[in-house]
Symmetry: C2
Subunit: 192 residues, 2 copies
DNA sequence: TCCTTACGAACGAACGTTCGTTTGTGATAG
DNA sequence: CTATCACAAACGAACGTTCGTTCGTAAGGA
């Protein structure tokens, strides 16, 4: 029942891979066709345009992060635990969807103005989740009172978003260790 | 006596600006010409090739960071103070050379293999400066003993390298405040 | 039989780059 | 002073290639 032919999802996945590796403008439709064993022109049976492919990859990235944040916020517990959940979720998304995430983080600015502003809005909303949790911890006294929630969330997200640039799954740092290290680093600045 | 004509340095600067904004592959030689008020073909009076332009911008970025690290390491003082110097220097480089730094950070991977590996080596050497200072602080007891210098330097550099993505000089956070916030954040995880 | 998938030729536009020519400017010679 | 010269800077046409995309057609599974 396995189809020999390619499906739309195959094309989007391959696009994520190539966009992540060589950038949107560095990838041609013929490159992408070659990756799937077909001609560049054949891709148009599955997809409307090259820009359309970028839109789909980036929006999948946005969806993944949004779902992760929603799940973390749904957990009950102290702000410290919730922040740890946010961090663990983010790292899970990055490690399980490297190419989509790399494209989401690095190539979204190549989108046309309309789609790009939607992505920016999604990122703002995601950052809001971090800010909320930190602000809650400041309010209820579990975090230091002189913490700037906005700056702290930017710093934490900076660490998380950079992971795709250096982390190697086969290296000496396992996934759980990574979550612990990032969490401890981010929480150290919050400890009163 | 200011020249009305453009100089090689003008071209490299404009290239840094456009590469930072639209990416290397997203910038054409005709775009770059337009930026300077001339034709794309006219650029070849100043420059060997488009790739050549990228090489010069990226190598300038590498030089700036290397000089900053050397200056910070030359200061005497406790590891905590030296780390703060490294951070302040990095932030200075980023804020005073936004376009060069953005190109250095985001477009270096578009270089051919030879130049790219030189950039990677330069980045490794730069990260080494951070790692050394942290390791020294662990050794002399001014930092916690269970700190992993490599991970800590990666996290700190992640924060520093992300600054170009969100910081606005005209915003509510001034340069000195930014240096303090990043330093406090990075040092909190080192406090014993 | 229809519908999806893929082909492969072709399109016009844009790409990086080359080249012969023109232009402007500063130095030099009369 | 002015005429001449050299040279760098810029032009603009053109090159060969690649780009994203279109289209008519063929093949094959439901």
């Amino acid at each position: 029942m396995v189809s020999v032919r390619n499906t739309r999802q195959d094309v989007v996945e391959a696009a994520g891979r190539l966009f992540a590796e060589k950038g949107y403008h560095g990838t041609s439709m013929r490159d992408l066709g070659r990756e799937l064993g077909l001609l560049g022109s054949s891709l148009y049976a599955h997809v409307e345009s090259k820009q359309d492919l970028l839109v789909h990859v980036v929006e999948e990235g946005a969806r993944l992060f949004q779902a992760s944040a929603a799940a973390a916020l749904a957990t009950v517990g102290a702000p410290g635990g919730q922040l740890r959940q946010l961090i663990a979720g983010h790292i899970g998304v990055v490690l399980d969807n490297r190419d989509v995430v790399r494209t989401y983080l690095n190539e979204a600015r190549m989108l046309d103005a309309e789609h790009r502003s939607r992505v920016i809005a999604a990122r703002d909303a995601y950052e809001q989740a971090f800010r909320q949790v930190i602000a809650a911890g400041v309010s209820d006294g579990s975090f230091r009172s002189d913490v700037d929630p906005k700056l702290h969330s930017i710093f934490t997200l900076s660490i998380l978003n950079a992971i795709e640039r250096w982390y190697r799954p086969e290296g000496r740092v396992g996934r759980d260790r990574l979550v612990d290290e990032v969490s401890d680093f981010a929480l150290a600045a919050l400890k009163r």
